[in-house]
Amino acid sequence: QQAEAVVHSSFRRLSGREKKEMQREILSILGLPGRPRPHPPLRPPSSAPLFMLDLYHAVSAEGDEEGNAVPGNGAGMGKFGAADGHAALPTLSTHTPPLGTVVSEADTVMSFVNLVEQERDLLQPRPYWKEFRFDLTPLPQGETVTAAEFRIYKTLTMGQRANRTLHISVYEIQRENRHREPELVLLDMQSLPAGQEGWLAFDVTSASNRWLLHPRSNLGIRLYVETEEDRSLSAGWIGLVGRRGPRSKQPFMVTFFRASQAPCRPPR
Protein backbone atom coordinates (compact mmCIF):
# COMPACT_ATOMS: atom_id res chain seq x y z
CA GLN A 1 0.00 0.00 0.00
CA GLN A 2 2.89 2.36 0.74
CA ALA A 3 4.26 1.95 -2.80
CA GLU A 4 0.76 2.52 -4.20
CA ALA A 5 0.36 5.63 -2.05
CA VAL A 6 3.64 6.99 -3.43
CA VAL A 7 2.46 6.30 -6.99
CA HIS A 8 -0.98 7.78 -6.35
CA SER A 9 0.32 10.95 -4.84
CA SER A 10 2.99 11.48 -7.49
CA PHE A 11 0.54 13.11 -9.91
CA ARG A 12 -0.57 15.65 -7.33
CA ARG A 13 3.03 16.78 -6.87
CA LEU A 14 3.28 17.81 -10.54
CA SER A 15 3.07 21.49 -11.43
CA GLY A 16 -0.07 22.97 -12.96
CA ARG A 17 1.45 23.01 -16.44
CA GLU A 18 2.62 19.40 -16.11
CA LYS A 19 -0.85 18.33 -14.96
CA LYS A 20 -2.42 20.02 -17.99
CA GLU A 21 0.08 18.29 -20.31
CA MET A 22 -0.62 14.95 -18.63
CA GLN A 23 -4.39 15.51 -18.98
CA ARG A 24 -4.04 16.34 -22.68
CA GLU A 25 -1.90 13.22 -23.20
CA ILE A 26 -4.48 11.00 -21.48
CA LEU A 27 -7.35 12.52 -23.49
CA SER A 28 -5.38 11.82 -26.68
CA ILE A 29 -4.52 8.24 -25.71
CA LEU A 30 -8.10 7.41 -24.68
CA GLY A 31 -9.55 9.24 -27.67
CA LEU A 32 -11.88 11.26 -25.45
CA PRO A 33 -13.43 14.57 -26.51
CA GLY A 34 -11.83 17.54 -24.81
CA ARG A 35 -14.22 18.33 -21.94
CA PRO A 36 -16.28 16.45 -19.38
CA ARG A 37 -20.04 15.91 -19.84
CA PRO A 38 -21.82 19.28 -19.67
CA HIS A 39 -24.79 18.56 -17.38
CA PRO A 40 -25.18 14.97 -16.15
CA PRO A 41 -28.83 14.13 -15.25
CA LEU A 42 -29.60 13.65 -11.57
CA ARG A 43 -30.83 10.05 -11.75
CA PRO A 44 -29.95 8.62 -15.18
CA PRO A 45 -31.16 5.10 -16.07
CA SER A 46 -28.50 2.63 -14.93
CA SER A 47 -29.38 -0.46 -16.98
CA ALA A 48 -27.19 0.50 -19.96
CA PRO A 49 -24.20 1.65 -17.86
CA LEU A 50 -24.31 -1.58 -15.82
CA PHE A 51 -24.37 -3.63 -19.01
CA MET A 52 -21.56 -1.59 -20.55
CA LEU A 53 -19.47 -1.83 -17.39
CA ASP A 54 -19.72 -5.63 -17.62
CA LEU A 55 -18.65 -5.36 -21.25
CA TYR A 56 -15.73 -3.08 -20.34
CA HIS A 57 -14.37 -5.56 -17.78
CA ALA A 58 -14.76 -8.45 -20.24
CA VAL A 59 -12.95 -6.53 -22.98
CA SER A 60 -10.19 -5.31 -20.63
CA ALA A 61 -9.65 -8.80 -19.24
CA GLU A 62 -9.36 -10.09 -22.81
CA GLY A 63 -6.82 -7.37 -23.62
CA ASP A 64 -4.65 -8.52 -20.71
CA GLU A 65 -4.94 -12.18 -21.69
CA GLU A 66 -3.80 -11.32 -25.25
CA GLY A 67 -6.50 -12.65 -27.44
CA ASN A 68 -8.01 -15.46 -25.34
CA ALA A 69 -11.79 -15.86 -25.61
CA VAL A 70 -13.74 -13.21 -23.70
CA PRO A 71 -14.57 -14.69 -20.25
CA GLY A 72 -18.14 -14.95 -18.96
CA ASN A 73 -20.65 -17.79 -18.95
CA GLY A 74 -21.80 -18.98 -22.30
CA ALA A 75 -25.18 -20.26 -21.31
CA GLY A 76 -26.76 -16.99 -20.39
CA MET A 77 -25.07 -14.79 -22.93
CA GLY A 78 -27.04 -12.42 -25.13
CA LYS A 79 -27.02 -13.12 -28.86
CA PHE A 80 -23.80 -11.25 -29.35
CA GLY A 81 -21.91 -12.51 -26.31
CA ALA A 82 -22.69 -9.75 -23.84
CA ALA A 83 -21.02 -10.22 -20.47
CA ASP A 84 -22.71 -12.35 -17.83
CA GLY A 85 -24.12 -9.47 -15.79
CA HIS A 86 -26.84 -9.25 -18.43
CA ALA A 87 -27.42 -12.90 -19.27
CA ALA A 88 -30.31 -13.00 -21.75
CA LEU A 89 -33.04 -15.65 -21.83
CA PRO A 90 -32.74 -18.61 -24.27
CA THR A 91 -33.56 -17.45 -27.76
CA LEU A 92 -35.30 -19.05 -30.74
CA SER A 93 -32.10 -19.29 -32.73
CA THR A 94 -30.29 -22.27 -31.27
CA HIS A 95 -26.99 -21.17 -32.80
CA THR A 96 -25.28 -18.61 -30.57
CA PRO A 97 -22.14 -17.27 -32.30
CA PRO A 98 -18.79 -18.15 -30.68
CA LEU A 99 -18.59 -16.43 -27.31
CA GLY A 100 -17.93 -12.73 -27.66
CA THR A 101 -16.61 -12.54 -31.26
CA VAL A 102 -18.76 -9.48 -31.94
CA VAL A 103 -17.65 -8.01 -28.63
CA SER A 104 -13.93 -8.78 -28.90
CA GLU A 105 -13.74 -7.59 -32.49
CA ALA A 106 -15.64 -4.38 -31.84
CA ASP A 107 -13.66 -1.14 -31.78
CA THR A 108 -16.58 0.89 -30.39
CA VAL A 109 -19.74 -0.13 -28.53
CA MET A 110 -22.52 2.39 -27.97
CA SER A 111 -25.59 2.06 -25.78
CA PHE A 112 -28.56 4.36 -26.41
CA VAL A 113 -31.11 5.47 -23.88
CA ASN A 114 -34.77 4.97 -24.75
CA LEU A 115 -36.16 8.44 -25.43
CA VAL A 116 -39.79 8.03 -26.43
CA GLU A 117 -42.17 5.22 -25.47
CA GLN A 118 -45.79 4.83 -26.62
CA GLU A 119 -48.14 1.92 -26.23
CA ARG A 120 -51.61 0.61 -26.93
CA ASP A 121 -52.65 -1.41 -23.91
CA LEU A 122 -55.65 -2.87 -22.07
CA LEU A 123 -57.77 0.30 -22.39
CA GLN A 124 -57.67 0.20 -26.20
CA PRO A 125 -58.71 -2.31 -28.85
CA ARG A 126 -56.35 -5.21 -29.72
CA PRO A 127 -53.74 -5.88 -30.93
CA TYR A 128 -51.73 -4.34 -28.10
CA TRP A 129 -48.24 -3.07 -28.83
CA LYS A 130 -45.43 -0.97 -27.32
CA GLU A 131 -43.13 1.36 -29.26
CA PHE A 132 -39.57 2.48 -28.38
CA ARG A 133 -37.46 5.18 -29.96
CA PHE A 134 -33.77 5.84 -29.42
CA ASP A 135 -31.51 8.86 -29.92
CA LEU A 136 -28.69 7.38 -32.05
CA THR A 137 -25.53 9.46 -31.69
CA PRO A 138 -23.84 10.11 -35.10
CA LEU A 139 -21.82 7.19 -36.49
CA PRO A 140 -18.21 7.10 -35.24
CA GLN A 141 -15.88 8.12 -38.07
CA GLY A 142 -14.63 5.28 -40.33
CA GLU A 143 -16.59 2.56 -38.50
CA THR A 144 -19.46 0.29 -39.57
CA VAL A 145 -22.16 -1.48 -37.59
CA THR A 146 -21.44 -5.17 -37.00
CA ALA A 147 -24.36 -5.92 -34.67
CA ALA A 148 -27.10 -4.21 -32.68
CA GLU A 149 -29.38 -5.46 -29.88
CA PHE A 150 -32.55 -4.17 -28.28
CA ARG A 151 -32.61 -5.26 -24.61
CA ILE A 152 -35.69 -5.33 -22.44
CA TYR A 153 -36.24 -6.87 -19.02
CA LYS A 154 -39.07 -9.31 -18.26
CA THR A 155 -40.22 -9.65 -14.64
CA LEU A 156 -42.55 -12.27 -13.14
CA THR A 157 -46.21 -11.27 -12.97
CA MET A 158 -49.18 -12.77 -11.11
CA GLY A 159 -52.08 -14.40 -12.98
CA GLN A 160 -49.82 -16.01 -15.61
CA ARG A 161 -49.68 -19.74 -16.18
CA ALA A 162 -45.90 -20.19 -15.76
CA ASN A 163 -45.59 -22.84 -18.45
CA ARG A 164 -47.68 -20.96 -21.03
CA THR A 165 -45.54 -20.00 -24.07
CA LEU A 166 -45.39 -16.37 -25.14
CA HIS A 167 -44.24 -15.16 -28.57
CA ILE A 168 -42.60 -11.73 -28.49
CA SER A 169 -41.83 -10.09 -31.85
CA VAL A 170 -40.01 -6.84 -32.62
CA TYR A 171 -40.66 -4.84 -35.79
CA GLU A 172 -38.98 -1.80 -37.33
CA ILE A 173 -41.42 1.05 -38.06
CA GLN A 174 -40.50 1.88 -41.64
CA ARG A 175 -43.25 4.35 -42.56
CA GLU A 176 -46.03 5.95 -40.55
CA ASN A 177 -49.48 6.33 -42.14
CA ARG A 178 -51.86 8.90 -40.75
CA HIS A 179 -55.09 6.87 -40.68
CA ARG A 180 -53.72 3.40 -41.11
CA GLU A 181 -51.32 1.08 -39.37
CA PRO A 182 -47.64 1.97 -40.06
CA GLU A 183 -45.52 -0.18 -42.40
CA LEU A 184 -43.59 -2.65 -40.26
CA VAL A 185 -40.65 -4.99 -40.97
CA LEU A 186 -40.04 -7.97 -38.69
CA LEU A 187 -36.61 -7.80 -37.07
CA ASP A 188 -36.59 -10.60 -34.53
CA MET A 189 -38.88 -12.90 -32.58
CA GLN A 190 -38.50 -14.98 -29.42
CA SER A 191 -40.62 -17.60 -27.64
CA LEU A 192 -40.31 -18.13 -23.92
CA PRO A 193 -42.29 -19.52 -20.97
CA ALA A 194 -44.47 -16.93 -19.23
CA GLY A 195 -42.85 -17.84 -15.92
CA GLN A 196 -39.36 -16.79 -17.03
CA GLU A 197 -37.60 -13.64 -15.71
CA GLY A 198 -34.52 -11.84 -17.06
CA TRP A 199 -33.14 -9.79 -19.92
CA LEU A 200 -34.37 -10.40 -23.47
CA ALA A 201 -32.04 -9.47 -26.36
CA PHE A 202 -33.49 -8.88 -29.84
CA ASP A 203 -31.35 -8.54 -32.97
CA VAL A 204 -32.05 -5.12 -34.55
CA THR A 205 -28.86 -4.91 -36.64
CA SER A 206 -30.54 -4.26 -39.99
CA ALA A 207 -32.67 -1.45 -38.57
CA SER A 208 -29.78 0.26 -36.78
CA ASN A 209 -27.73 0.19 -39.97
CA ARG A 210 -30.46 2.16 -41.75
CA TRP A 211 -30.95 4.60 -38.84
CA LEU A 212 -27.28 5.44 -38.62
CA LEU A 213 -26.95 6.01 -42.36
CA HIS A 214 -30.30 7.87 -42.65
CA PRO A 215 -31.11 9.32 -39.20
CA ARG A 216 -34.49 10.62 -40.44
CA SER A 217 -35.65 7.06 -41.11
CA ASN A 218 -35.38 6.30 -37.38
CA LEU A 219 -39.06 5.90 -36.43
CA GLY A 220 -38.28 3.40 -33.69
CA ILE A 221 -39.39 -0.18 -33.10
CA ARG A 222 -42.68 -1.77 -32.16
CA LEU A 223 -43.07 -4.83 -29.88
CA TYR A 224 -45.99 -7.30 -29.87
CA VAL A 225 -46.78 -10.13 -27.43
CA GLU A 226 -49.02 -13.06 -28.40
CA THR A 227 -50.05 -16.38 -26.91
CA GLU A 228 -49.94 -19.64 -28.80
CA GLU A 229 -53.55 -19.04 -29.76
CA ASP A 230 -52.43 -15.75 -31.39
CA ARG A 231 -54.16 -13.73 -28.72
CA SER A 232 -52.56 -10.32 -28.22
CA LEU A 233 -51.33 -9.45 -24.72
CA SER A 234 -50.09 -6.15 -23.34
CA ALA A 235 -46.33 -5.88 -22.77
CA GLY A 236 -46.77 -4.52 -19.27
CA TRP A 237 -49.20 -7.25 -18.34
CA ILE A 238 -46.64 -10.02 -19.01
CA GLY A 239 -43.96 -8.11 -17.07
CA LEU A 240 -41.92 -6.27 -19.71
CA VAL A 241 -40.35 -3.24 -17.99
CA GLY A 242 -40.64 0.19 -19.65
CA ARG A 243 -39.27 3.67 -19.01
CA ARG A 244 -41.19 4.04 -15.78
CA GLY A 245 -39.74 0.81 -14.34
CA PRO A 246 -36.76 0.43 -12.01
CA ARG A 247 -33.70 2.32 -13.36
CA SER A 248 -31.53 -0.80 -13.48
CA LYS A 249 -34.10 -2.62 -15.64
CA GLN A 250 -35.14 0.00 -18.18
CA PRO A 251 -34.86 -0.94 -21.88
CA PHE A 252 -31.96 0.24 -24.02
CA MET A 253 -30.23 -0.45 -27.31
CA VAL A 254 -26.58 -1.39 -27.83
CA THR A 255 -24.68 -1.21 -31.11
CA PHE A 256 -21.29 -2.73 -31.94
CA PHE A 257 -18.99 -1.02 -34.46
CA ARG A 258 -15.81 -2.09 -36.20
CA ALA A 259 -13.23 0.14 -37.87
CA SER A 260 -13.68 -0.13 -41.64
CA GLN A 261 -9.91 -0.14 -42.21
CA ALA A 262 -6.94 -0.50 -39.89
CA PRO A 263 -7.18 2.66 -37.80
CA CYS A 264 -3.99 4.75 -38.16
CA ARG A 265 -2.72 5.93 -34.81
CA PRO A 266 -3.17 9.64 -34.41
CA PRO A 267 0.25 11.36 -34.42
CA ARG A 268 1.23 12.38 -30.89
Binding site: S10, L30, G63, V113, T137, R265
Partner: protein, 136 residues
Protein backbone atom coordinates in the same frame (compact mmCIF):
# COMPACT_ATOMS: atom_id res chain seq x y z
CA UNK B 1 31.73 -4.37 -39.78
CA UNK B 2 35.08 -2.57 -39.29
CA UNK B 3 36.68 -3.04 -35.82
CA UNK B 4 36.99 0.43 -34.13
CA UNK B 5 40.68 1.51 -34.28
CA UNK B 6 41.95 2.24 -30.67
CA UNK B 7 43.76 5.51 -31.63
CA UNK B 8 40.64 6.82 -33.38
CA UNK B 9 39.03 10.09 -31.99
CA UNK B 10 36.51 9.27 -29.20
CA UNK B 11 32.96 9.32 -30.74
CA UNK B 12 30.77 12.26 -29.75
CA UNK B 13 28.65 10.10 -27.42
CA UNK B 14 31.75 8.53 -25.77
CA UNK B 15 30.55 5.05 -26.78
CA UNK B 16 32.34 2.72 -24.30
CA UNK B 17 34.72 0.45 -26.28
CA UNK B 18 34.40 -3.23 -25.40
CA UNK B 19 37.60 -4.51 -23.72
CA UNK B 20 39.57 -7.51 -25.01
CA UNK B 21 37.31 -9.97 -23.11
CA UNK B 22 34.21 -8.43 -24.64
CA UNK B 23 32.92 -6.90 -21.35
CA UNK B 24 31.76 -3.41 -21.72
CA UNK B 25 33.43 -0.91 -19.42
CA UNK B 26 30.85 0.83 -17.25
CA UNK B 27 31.86 4.48 -16.65
CA UNK B 28 28.95 4.95 -14.20
CA UNK B 29 28.84 1.47 -12.69
CA UNK B 30 30.28 2.25 -9.29
CA UNK B 31 29.15 5.89 -9.05
CA UNK B 32 26.21 4.65 -6.86
CA UNK B 33 23.64 5.86 -9.44
CA UNK B 34 20.32 3.97 -9.49
CA UNK B 35 20.00 1.45 -12.31
CA UNK B 36 17.34 2.13 -14.94
CA UNK B 37 13.94 0.88 -13.79
CA UNK B 38 10.28 1.07 -14.88
CA UNK B 39 8.28 3.62 -12.89
CA UNK B 40 4.54 4.30 -12.71
CA UNK B 41 2.83 7.66 -12.50
CA UNK B 42 -0.84 7.05 -11.64
CA UNK B 43 -3.39 9.74 -12.51
CA UNK B 44 -6.75 9.35 -10.77
CA UNK B 45 -9.64 10.61 -12.87
CA UNK B 46 -11.39 11.96 -9.77
CA UNK B 47 -8.36 14.24 -9.35
CA UNK B 48 -9.10 15.53 -12.85
CA UNK B 49 -12.82 16.01 -12.09
CA UNK B 50 -13.88 13.33 -14.58
CA UNK B 51 -15.69 11.08 -12.11
CA UNK B 52 -19.20 11.37 -13.61
CA UNK B 53 -17.90 11.46 -17.16
CA UNK B 54 -15.55 8.49 -17.41
CA UNK B 55 -17.15 5.36 -15.94
CA UNK B 56 -14.04 3.18 -16.32
CA UNK B 57 -11.11 2.95 -15.79
CA UNK B 58 -10.86 5.00 -12.57
CA UNK B 59 -7.45 6.35 -13.53
CA UNK B 60 -4.53 6.04 -15.92
CA UNK B 61 -1.11 4.56 -15.22
CA UNK B 62 1.68 6.22 -17.19
CA UNK B 63 4.79 4.01 -17.25
CA UNK B 64 8.22 5.47 -17.86
CA UNK B 65 11.84 4.44 -17.43
CA UNK B 66 14.20 6.39 -15.21
CA UNK B 67 17.69 5.81 -13.86
CA UNK B 68 21.14 5.00 -15.25
CA UNK B 69 21.20 2.47 -18.06
CA UNK B 70 23.72 -0.38 -17.83
CA UNK B 71 24.97 0.78 -21.19
CA UNK B 72 24.76 4.57 -21.11
CA UNK B 73 25.19 6.25 -24.47
CA UNK B 74 25.38 9.65 -22.88
CA UNK B 75 23.88 11.51 -19.99
CA UNK B 76 22.20 14.14 -22.17
CA UNK B 77 19.36 11.81 -23.19
CA UNK B 78 16.35 10.74 -21.20
CA UNK B 79 15.91 7.01 -20.74
CA UNK B 80 13.37 6.52 -23.52
CA UNK B 81 15.28 8.40 -26.21
CA UNK B 82 18.41 6.66 -25.08
CA UNK B 83 16.69 3.30 -25.44
CA UNK B 84 15.57 4.05 -28.98
CA UNK B 85 19.02 5.15 -30.09
CA UNK B 86 20.71 2.24 -28.40
CA UNK B 87 18.24 -0.06 -30.14
CA UNK B 88 19.31 1.36 -33.50
CA UNK B 89 23.00 1.13 -32.66
CA UNK B 90 22.44 -2.46 -31.48
CA UNK B 91 20.90 -3.34 -34.83
CA UNK B 92 23.91 -1.86 -36.60
CA UNK B 93 26.49 -3.46 -34.30
CA UNK B 94 24.80 -6.38 -32.53
CA UNK B 95 28.14 -7.81 -31.33
CA UNK B 96 29.33 -4.65 -29.69
CA UNK B 97 26.25 -2.88 -28.37
CA UNK B 98 23.69 -4.88 -26.36
CA UNK B 99 19.95 -4.43 -26.75
CA UNK B 100 18.57 -1.40 -24.91
CA UNK B 101 16.99 -2.38 -21.63
CA UNK B 102 14.19 0.22 -21.72
CA UNK B 103 12.89 -0.37 -25.27
CA UNK B 104 9.16 -1.21 -25.13
CA UNK B 105 8.71 -4.94 -25.68
CA UNK B 106 4.98 -4.85 -26.37
CA UNK B 107 2.13 -2.44 -27.11
CA UNK B 108 -1.04 -3.13 -25.13
CA UNK B 109 -4.67 -2.25 -25.85
CA UNK B 110 -6.57 0.18 -23.66
CA UNK B 111 -10.34 0.66 -23.32
CA UNK B 112 -12.41 3.50 -21.91
CA UNK B 113 -16.10 3.73 -20.95
CA UNK B 114 -17.65 7.18 -20.85
CA UNK B 115 -20.86 9.20 -21.26
CA UNK B 116 -21.39 11.28 -24.39
CA UNK B 117 -23.27 14.56 -24.34
CA UNK B 118 -26.62 12.77 -24.87
CA UNK B 119 -26.02 10.55 -21.81
CA UNK B 120 -25.48 7.52 -24.00
CA UNK B 121 -22.68 5.26 -22.75
CA UNK B 122 -19.79 4.57 -25.14
CA UNK B 123 -17.09 1.90 -24.88
CA UNK B 124 -14.02 2.68 -26.96
CA UNK B 125 -11.23 0.14 -27.45
CA UNK B 126 -7.80 1.21 -28.76
CA UNK B 127 -5.52 -1.63 -29.86
CA UNK B 128 -1.71 -1.34 -29.58
CA UNK B 129 -1.91 2.01 -27.90
CA UNK B 130 0.00 1.95 -24.57
CA UNK B 131 3.37 0.71 -23.37
CA UNK B 132 3.08 -1.30 -20.18
CA UNK B 133 6.14 -3.53 -20.47
CA UNK B 134 9.74 -2.77 -21.37
CA UNK B 135 13.03 -4.55 -21.06
CA UNK B 136 14.00 -3.07 -17.65
Amino acid sequence: ALKPHPRKKKPKYDLPVPSIHGEVSQPHANSGRQACKKHELYVSFSDLGWKDWVLAPTGYSAYYCDGECLYPLGSCMNATNHALIQQVVHLLKPDEVPKACCAPTKLSPISVLFYDDNNNVILKKHRNMVVKTCGC
